[in-house]
Every structure is written in structure tokens, then in C-alpha cells.
């Protein structure tokens, strides 16, 4: 009872805070108007929050959709589509009270539909449907059922209480009338390219050149966003994206090419803002290939390459070499685990232990087969530095008798090759994590399959067990201990060659004001960004010319 009263007080306080936010949106003195075009390093395959698993789509869906709860600038949980909630004493039931003033996006002249509890239930069912292809399932398996209590009340019953459960309800809600298929969502559903949300911006169009145009949602329940329009513009080459920023053809790049950092830092027209500390780059191995299923071979690859030298040479020492599956800025990184030292000699010994012998052309052979592997790299990553990394990897491995055949693929083709068809031996990419540092979808054997994050089919019962234990525990210190152990095991098992963490920077024109960037989702606070009227006028003049 006391607990209920307490939670009601909390809800009341949150409501007050939310009320303040709504009120401040129109009274903050910030001018409306102006547009912002930003450069992306590729085109998203889908724009919905359920089927996508890349950062480009995540950034757009952050503008179009809302969750039941959100995260504010202080990283606190705040109401979003839910105006409040109750948590049962045992932590097993979460009841959300929904706002009654939320409408789904509609084109001008069309009538907007109202958001209700049905949409919440529908979204959950779609996410968990066997037919839906999504990386979200594992994350939400802790929910037993969801019940629509009435039009504006929805109740989630958990299979068991979990740590930080409330944060999980940040998942984005889609409308019941959205997907053509009804109860599930696949990548061929028109909805994934023409999504309808409740967020501050609605999708206006995707142009033939790949520009994705979003316009202000005049009916946004938190108040109309300040900027009239946002345009996401894809660039295949990061150097060209930077040039576009320097010559004012775009206003922002979400990812500054490392070699352009000094140029931007020295230019007073631009702001360079670091974000997204929790990411790292890696070479991932396909363990379906029997050669790579041998841990000794994977370790040999890691020991054959001089990561520090690559970092120093190609990134001017920006970033840090890491030893395992967490970024150093996360709460889970285990400082006791040191990166494997560079040792081509030991690498060769490991390959010999694995049954390989040096043969023709200096390559390693086993059962008459040359040790030759394919490496697939997304073309969106084809910056000069990345190219050098990939070529250096090839050369390092050549020195221990391994042949690597590199191919660059367009972003979507690469994703299909790696995540759908699993047609690769080695891949190069980066992962980006939110604060939870959840690696379960990357290494749990239940996550092997089409469009799943365990693309390399890594399977280890001990790792599965630890991941499950980490999910079950309600104790933070226990979870930390488990994650430290996971770090140790995965560093030893080397399903990836963990490379380094690099700081991500956004670069933007100073005319964009009050820019707060969410470290992971990027545009979470973009509804409050603005451009001063005099800068808007300047922009109009330029366009007029």
C-alpha cells in the first residue's frame, strides 16, 4: 500500500515535470522555423524501430516514434507516451497510464488517428511474433504477457522481476493500423519504409537520391518542434560528407571522419561534439567455417596483427586498443584483462597447433587446403583509414601464411551478406551500445539465425549460462562480476578480434543552437534544437540566390 502511494507520488511529480516540459516548449523563447540537413554514411534499409538493427535507422526512428517512457538529458527515466505508472510491490507487474492527447502522424488534410492501449499491446505482440524478424526478442523475453486494461491503461506482467526493468519500456510504439501484415512485421512490409509514428517529426518522403525528408509534427504532444524540417542525406564517402559540411551544403555530420577532426576543430563556424563513447570496432569470424571454429586459429589472427601500430598509423593514436566485448567507457569493462600482445611467432605456433603446415607460396595448409578466407567490409566504411586497416589486416595475416580476400559491399548488400546469408569468413564492423552494455544478443547461442546479431554463430554453453544468470540476477554487483567473467572468457575465446574504441564526433554548423546529443540515440532532444531568426533569414537569402 505504502509502495503504491509512493509510486503515485512519484507519478504525480513526474506529471508535474512533464507538464512543465509541455509548457516550456512553447514558452522557451526559441524561434520556430528553419531546416537542418545532416549527412549519414549510408541509406537505412528500414525506417521502423522493430526490424532495423543499424544506427542510421535508429537515429531516424528516434525522431518519428516514442516509447512509453523516455530518457531525459540527465539520463533519468521520464514519462513519454505513458503519463505515469505503477509498479507492484514484488516488481512483477508494471501498469502504465497513457496520455490521452497523442495522435498518430497524418498527412496534411487527413484525419489523425488517436493513440491508445491497443497500439501498445499490438507493438509488443508484433515484436514477439515468430514471424517478425527483429533483434528485440531476446531483450523482451522477460515479459510474460501484456493486457489492455482500458483504452488508456496497459499492464505488463513479467515472468520475473529484472534489474532496470522500467528502462526496457523505452521501446518504440507502432500503430495497430500500420503494418500491412497485421500481426507481424517483416522487411518487405511497406510500413518499414513509410512508417507512421507519434514523434516530433513525421516522414514526408524518401527522394530518389536517397534523401529522407522529415517535417515537424504540428500536433506533437510535447509541443511542436522548433525546426521545420530535417533531411537525412546519405554519403558513400566520408570525405565528401565532410566537404559538404565545409561548403554548407549540409549543416551537420553525425560521424566526423577522424582525419577531418583537426580541420573542424580549428574552424570557428563549426562545433565538434563528442558522443557515443560505448562503441568499438572488430573483425568478426564466422564459426560455421570449421577452420574458424578452432579457437587457436582465431587467437592466432588476433596475435598476428599489431593493433596499436594500426591505431597509431591510421588514426593518429585516436582511440584505445581493447581486450574484450565491452567499451572502456562502460560499467562492464574488465581492466584486469589485457589485450593479447602482438606476436606473429606465437600466432604461427598456434596455427601449427591447429594442424596447419607451411607450404607453397609461404601459405599455411591443412589437408591440402590453403588457409584462405574472405573478408567482407561495408562500403559505407570505405574511408581511407578503414581501407588501410583492412589492407593491414590482410598483410599481417599474410605474414603468418593466411590469405585474405577482401571485398567491399554496399551497406545493405553487406548487411544481407553478413546477417542474412552468413556468406563470409571474416567481417569488419563496429558495435554501438547504450548504457546497459548488453552483449547477450551478440554472443548467446539463441541469437544465431537470420538477421540476428550473433552473425558468426558463436556458441558456448558457459557463456550462455552466464548471460542467463546476468539476466536473472537482481543484484548489480553480481551482474558486474558476471560481466567481468564474460569479458575474460570472450577475450580468451576470441569470437572477434576486438580492435579499439574510437570517439565519435558530430560536427555541425554553429547556427544550430541548443544542440544536446543523446550518446546513443542521437536525436532524442532534437525537438528543442533551433536556429535563430537572423540565421534563418540568411539561409533563405542563400537559397534565393
Amino acid at each position: 500500500m505504502l509502495m503504491n502511494r509512493l509510486s503515485l507520488i512519484i507519478v504525480f511529480l513526474w506529471l508535474l515535470a512533464a507538464g512543465t516540459a509541455v509548457a516550456s516548449s512553447n514558452k522557451d523563447g526559441r524561434p520556430e522555423g528553419g531546416s537542418l540537413s545532416y549527412g549519414e554514411y549510408g541509406r537505412p534499409a528500414t525506417l521502423d524501430p522493430i526490424t532495423s538493427n543499424d544506427m542510421i535507422a535508429l537515429r531516424i526512428s528516434e525522431l518519428i516514434f516514442n516509447g512509453l517512457v523516455g530518457i531525459d538529458e540527465k539520463q533519468e527515466i521520464v514519462p513519454e507516451l505513458a503519463k505515469g505508472w505503477d509498479i507492484s510491490k514484488d516488481g512483477g507487474t508494471y501498469t502504465f497510464y497513457l496520455r490521452q492527447d497523442v495522435k498518430w502522424h497524418s498527412a496534411p488534410g487527413q484525419e489523425s488517428r488517436v493513440f491508445t492501449a491497443k497500439d501498445v499491446v499490438f507493438t509488443y505482440n508484433v515484436m514477439m511474433s515468430e514471424k517478425t524478424v527483429t533483434p528485440l526478442k531476446l531483450r523482451y523475453e522477460f515479459i510474460d504477457k501484456v493486457t489492455r486494461v482500458d483504452d488508456y491503461t496497459v499492464r505488463f506482467t513479467l515472468k520475473r522481476p529484472i534489474l532496470n526493468a522500467l528502462a526496457k519500456f523505452t521501446f518504440k510504439i507502432i500503430p495497430e493500423f500500420g503494418p500491412a501484415a497485421g500481426e507481424y512485421l517483416r522487411r518487405d512490409d511497406p510500413f518499414v519504409r513509410a512508417p507512421i509514428g507519434t514523434g516530433p517529426y513525421r516522414l514526408k518522403e524518401t527522394k530518389a537520391n536517397g534523401d529522407i525528408v522529415l517535417v515537424a509534427n504540428e500536433q506533437y504532444f510535447r509541443g511542436r518542434p522548433n525546426l521545420d524540417k530535417l533531411v537525412a542525406r546519405p554519403f558513400a564517402d566520408q570525405n565528401i560528407m565532410n566537404e559538404a559540411l565545409m561548403f554548407n551544403s549540409i549543416d551537420m555530420t553525425v560521424l566526423v571522419n577522424p582525419r577531418n577532426i583537426p580541420e573542424l576543430q580549428g574552424d570557428r563556424r563549426f562545433v565538434l561534439q563528442a558522443y557515443n563513447a560505448l562503441s568499438y570496432s572488430f573483425f568478426g569470424y564466422n564459426l560455421r567455417n570449421p577452420v574458424l571454429a578452432d579457437k587457436r586459429v582465431r587467437k592466432a589472427f588476433t596475435m598476428a596483427i599489431n593493433r596499436q601500430e594500426m591505431l597509431d598509423s591510421f588514426f593518429n593514436s585516436r582511440g584505445k586498443v581493447i581486450s574484450g566485448p565491452f567499451a572502456p567507457g562502460s560499467w562492464a569493462y574488465n581492466l584486469d584483462v589485457r589485450p593479447l600482445a602482438w606476436s606473429p611467432k606465437k600466432a604461427r605456433e598456434l596455427l601449427k597447433e591447429a594442424g596447419f603446415k607451411a607450404g607453397k607460396g609461404g601459405f599455411m595448409y591443412k589437408d591440402g587446403q590453403r588457409l584462405s578466407l574472405s573478408l567482407k567490409v561495408p562500403i559505407a566504411k570505405e574511408s581511407e583509414a578503414t581501407k588501410r586497416v583492412v589492407l593491414a589486416f590482410r598483410n599481417y595475416l599474410k605474414k603468418i601464411g593466411v590469405e585474405i580476400k577482401v571485398s567491399f559491399l554496399e551497406w545493405q548488400a553487406w548487411k544481407e551478406t553478413v546477417f542474412l546469408n552468413h556468406d563470409f569468413d571474416v567481417m569488419f564492423a563496429s558495435w554501438v551500445f547504450d548504457d546497459a552494455a548488453d552483449i547477450s544478443s551478440l554472443f548467446h547461442s539463441a541469437e544465431i539465425g537470420e538477421w540476428r546479431n550473433n552473425f558468426g554463430a558463436y556458441s558456448n554453453p558457459q557463456v550462455d549460462g552466464l548471460i542467463a544468470e546476468a539476466k536473472l540476477t537482481l543484484d548489480h554487483e553480481k551482474k558486474r562480476t558476471i560481466y567481468r567473467r564474460l569479458h575474460e572468457i570472450l577475450a580468451d575465446e576470441s569470437p572477434y578480434t576486438f580492435l579499439w574504441t574510437l570517439t565519435n564526433y558530430a560536427g555541425y554548423n554553429k547556427k544550430i543552437r541548443r544542440v544536446r546529443i543523446h550518446p546513443y540515440k542521437f536525436f532524442t532532444y532534437a525537438d528543442r534544437w533551433y536556429i535563430r531568426l537572423k540565421d534563418q533569414k540568411k539561409d533563405k537569402k542563400k537559397k534565393g540566390k
Binding site: I71, P328, A332, V432, T503, P519
Partner: protein
Amino acid sequence: MSNTQKHCCVLALLAVLVPCPAWSDSGPSQPGGYLDRHRYQSVINAVTAERELSGDMDSLMILAMALRESSELHELIQRHALSVQQAYLGRILKAGASRFAGLYLAEVLLQTKDAGKAGPYLDRFLAQKDVPAKFAQIARIHKARALYLQGRTEQARKQISTMRTTDAEVRAELVSARTLLGMQGLRSSALELKDIADAQLQVQGAVSIRVLNRLLELYGSLGEFSEAWARLREANTGAPVFMEQRRDGAELRFYSAGLPGNIARIHRLAAMEFFAILRKIDTYRVPASYMLQEIEAWFPDRDAAAKKKAGTAQASPVPEALRPMQDIVDAVELIRTGDGNSGELMLDQAAGRYARDPEILTRLLQACARVKARCETVRSTAAALSDSVRGDAFRLLQSGLGVHSLSLGNEREALEQLEAGRDKSRKNSIEVNQPLNLMRIAELYRKAGVWSEHLEIYFELAEEFPTARIIYDAAQGIYAMEQNSAGEVKVF
């Protein structure tokens, strides 16, 4: 002139006074290069090893400078470590996650002289069932310390007067407490600690962090550094003082509450002694005297024994190149001795004279920050110059302004300025950014709940300065509890 030489000269303010030490010309693997890259611990390790072979004065100068910088850095580590440890231990105690958190929280509180709060934590720790005898004894010794800090000396003495132990760590705590309570002399205590450490080394192969901490403390109080310094060189100062293994497999790490501060003190004592030696050599007389004086100004009323030994005399008339620095030291002394107006006026006048010199203006701002003076003229002069310069000069001034804003409690402004002063090409690197400024930025991010930025900085720092790990581990613990994310991960 190479960057290394230039920086080295600037750092020592010797540009026109003395030739730079020969090592400053060598590559980054040499001590001069390390100093230029703020790798003070590497300098200390390299020069110490080298000096055993050569004993030349160039290397002694570099070593003394590195020790001075290291001392200041460890002072800040100590301050931030206490703050983050207090927050972390308080949380796990509240969550009922540890049987030992109360003991270690009390150690942190005793270190901050908050004896009134430490006592109840110790009582609760002792009231638990089956507290291991060793930890119960340590807690009782801490209770005595708390009583003493509250002015109840007799009661404190009674608490430990009959205590007997064979455990090395308990003995170390007992010797330290008995010394504090005036129950035994400082020198005999230090010698006893040395014996405890020797025995521990013989039996266990290493001196434990708890014993090391008390040994540094006592030798620091004596104003002697060599014994403590020798022990430090053999120790892993990033190791926890204790690891609690819970029945459910969880492992909790607890760190020494006073170790970074004691390291700071030993390094400062060593630096003072080396500068005192260098002051007697013509080539180094002026800079060594100045640096000695500066240490005394920055750390007043401490290390009295060492001061007595080193003396404070400024050797000769101050050369023109060193004049602004001397003004700063004099002004700080004036402010500290109660003549704030004259001191601030002196700093403001210096700002007027050096209105186009970003380095001196930054030093003036730092001096103002040390004494928490408003220094409006210094500030406005620095801000005006910052508006008209670019590159390194701009960043230097912004950092200076940030340090000053921080001293006045303007944290938001401080973060903006310190960020503007941060070299983004390698934003967390201590080689291109001043470690002290990185730590200030990290602390401001911690207060703002931006944990990943905070941790990234300490990840880097811990590589060179192992005690930074105290902060990294505790901050990870709070971050794990505070994070409010759904568990998303995306490829890019």
C-alpha cells in the same frame, strides 16, 4: 627547437636561464620525452633506473619535475577518489550488497575527517554476525581513530591499549593509530612498519596495500621519503586492499582510502629534496629555488619537517624571465597570509603587463583558482585574448578559464571552457591534454551523470597512474546501478 625541448623549457621556465636537460632532446622513450607527454610515472621509473647507473644532474632535474607534477596529480586523484568511493560504498551498503562496505565507507570518512559519521558505520559493521576477527580488530582501531578525531583521546587510547595481534595488516593499522594517539613515537613506529613490511615481503612475496599505505603515511609524517619510495617502486598501487567473495559468487573490490594522498606526499617530499640538491648547483640554482618556493606556496603548512630540511631561501635576484612566476608565488603568499587585496592587485597588475601572453595569463588564472580569488581583471584579460587567438593559445586560455570557473563553483561554465581547451584530436590522451584538466573534466561529467565520458578518461589515466583505478572501479559500480537503458545494440 623540438616540441619536447620547447615544452620542457616552458615547464621549467628555463627558456633563457639554463640549457634544457640533455634528455629532453631524446625520443619519447627517454625521460625527457615522457615528461613532455605527461607520463610522470614513466619518468620516475626510467630516471630512477638510469640514475642508479649514472647519477647525473640533468636526470635529477627531470625527476624532480616529474615528482612535483605527480604529487599534484595524486592529490587530485585522492580528492576525487574519496568523493566517488563515498558515493559508491554508500550505495552498496544501502542495497545490502556487502558485509564489508561499512568498514570501507568508514575508512573513507575517517580520511575526510568526518569521524562523527564514520563511528556508526563501524558500530553497524561490528554488530554483524561472524565478522572475521581480523576485520573486527581493524574496525576497533578505526573506532579509536574516530574517537580521537572527536577529541576523546583517552577513550580512544583505552580502545586499543590492550589489543594484540600477529596479523601484519592489523599491526600496521595499530601502529598507525598508536602513533596518532601519541602512544608511541613517530620514528619507532616508522621502523616498526618497515619491519612489518619486510616480514610480509618475505612471507607473501609482496607488501599489502594496507601495510604500504600506513608505511607511506608514517614516513611522510617524518619528512623522509627514501624508504617509502623504494616500497612504492615495488608495489602494484592499483590493487584493491580487499576483495569480498560473496556466497553467490559476486566479487566486490575495496580500495585504500588514503593511498593516493600518501603517494602525493612522498613524491612531493622527494621533489623538494631533489630541488634542494639542485639549488646548490650553479646551472640549476635559479629554477630549482623557484620550484621549491612554488611547492611551498602551493602546499602551505604541510611537510614541515621537509621544509625545515630544504630551507626556503631564494638564491639570488630573480631574473626577468622568471619575474611573472615570482609575482604569482608572492601574490599567493599574500592572499594566504590574509592580505587578499594586495595579492589580487598584484595578480591583476601582472595580467595587465602580460595581456598578450596566453601562457602567463593561464598561470595567473591557475594561481587565482588555487586561492579561490575572483581575479576579475585577470579573467577578463584572458577572456579577451582568448577571443582573438586560435589553436594552442586558445585552448590554453580556455583551460585556464575553466580551472578558474571551477574554483568559483561555476561548474557548467567550467565544463564548457575545459572542453573548449581540450585537444579533440586525442581527447582522452594525457599526452596531448593536461592530466589534471582531464580529471577535472571527468569529475564534472561524473557529477552530470555522463559516466562513459568519465570512465574513458580514467581508463587512460589508469594506464600511467595505477591509483586512478580506484576511481574507475567505484564509478563503474555507480554507473551499473544508475544506468537507465534498455539494452540496445546496433551495428555501424
